[in-house]
Symmetry: C2
Subunit: 217 residues, 2 copies
């Protein structure tokens, strides 16, 4: 369990999926500020639009730091979303993820965020998952990752990756459990009147979507 | 079902609860823009900080419109959060809610947002609920409301109120179901890999919290 104060960097980019970011942040925001400080970070400080369906142009969240002046970050939280696609070609994003994950205690992602982590090499040698509707987007970024199709989230120590959107909230509670204990995680879920899916391996969304789509080929 | 394009006004104020806002917005953002336009509205346009636990100072979301220049709004979405308390004394907020709810097709709230609606008189004559940890905050605002303690959300036609935080996401799916049909609601939940709590009356969080706290007195 963590006795020293930690910092969490929530990484924004245009077209991030709202709930990928704010589901986990809702849970992390319940940790007292003397134990966890949350920083909003993007390539450049300023407003960053979320995804709006399959477009970029949703509500804007303000990044307080750019990649150049972000403070030390013990936890990196990377959402997925439609905006993942252009970011896969953004060397500044990939460089930031590669560099900062080395110094972080935990790097975690939600949904297609793991495609970015994979492309940045952060997941090499680790087990990881991604969202179910675009699983191949993640798996095609790296063959050095052991991809796990059926998982709500995969905790492999320094890297923790969640399946689609809502799974990020369950993952965040698991990280809270690891860092601050089970009772804190339970109280956090209860405060948010959230029914925590506690079993990382139980994935109600794997079968129909992927098997129907045949996306795993 | 709705065949005409609708507008949704997501109402921000300092100290709004993140997931109250972005859980529902994640779901509404899946409705194609030709059917639903989402506007971010606050007392004044500009960045509005979310709650961070029991304080104001979380991530900032940008309001594109102030109360004075907000466009016509068919759906009002009002989150709860720690910032509810000062807003109960804000005549501009209460006036905006009172005035705009008369023109709206649906006014909906999450968590302690229903305390604001009650104080503004929007819930008079209707059935409504609120979050379970501060139920009395809502009920003490108006005795002209039929308060329902055990409910995930309460749909009473033009006003729909949800219980705490996560319940807002279930309520949003119910509103989507009413306006655009059950299949759209199901696809939306599935896209977000979200296990929809479909039964408005089933409330897993009512008993322990309230009965233990004795808050309903």
């Amino acid at each position: 369990m963590s006795n020293t104060p930690l910092t969490l960097g929530a990484i924004l980019y245009p077209g991030f999926e709202m709930l990928d970011m704010f589901g986990p942040l809702e849970m992390f925001s319940m940790i007292p500020p003397e134990q966890l400080t949350i920083h909003m970070v993007a390539e450049q400080a300023g407003p960053v639009p979320a995804a709006m369906g399959m477009a970029i142009g949703g509500p804007k969240t303000v990044a307080d730091y750019g990649f150049d002046d972000a403070p030390e970050l013990d936890i990196l939280l990377l959402p997925g979303g439609f905006g993942t696609l252009p970011e896969l070609e953004n060397p500044r994003m990939l460089g930031f993820l590669s560099q900062r994950s080395k110094a972080a205690q935990i790097t975690c992602s939600v949904c297609s965020g793991s495609a970015l982590l994979a492309k940045a090499g952060v997941l090499d040698g680790y087990r990881a998952t991604s969202n179910k509707q675009l699983f191949v987007l993640a798996t095609s970024q790296s063959d050095k990752v052991t991809w796990v199709e059926e998982a709500r989230w995969v905790d492999d120590g320094p890297v923790v990756t969640a399946s689609g959107v809502s799974a990020g909230t369950d993952m965040a509670l698991a990280i809270i459990q690891r860092l601050w204990g089970e009772e804190v995680a339970r109280q956090t879920a209860e405060f948010a009147e959230y029914t925590w899916h506690e079993d990382a391996d139980s994935d109600p969304f794997v079968s129909e979507l992927n098997k129907a789509a045949g996306m795993l080929g």
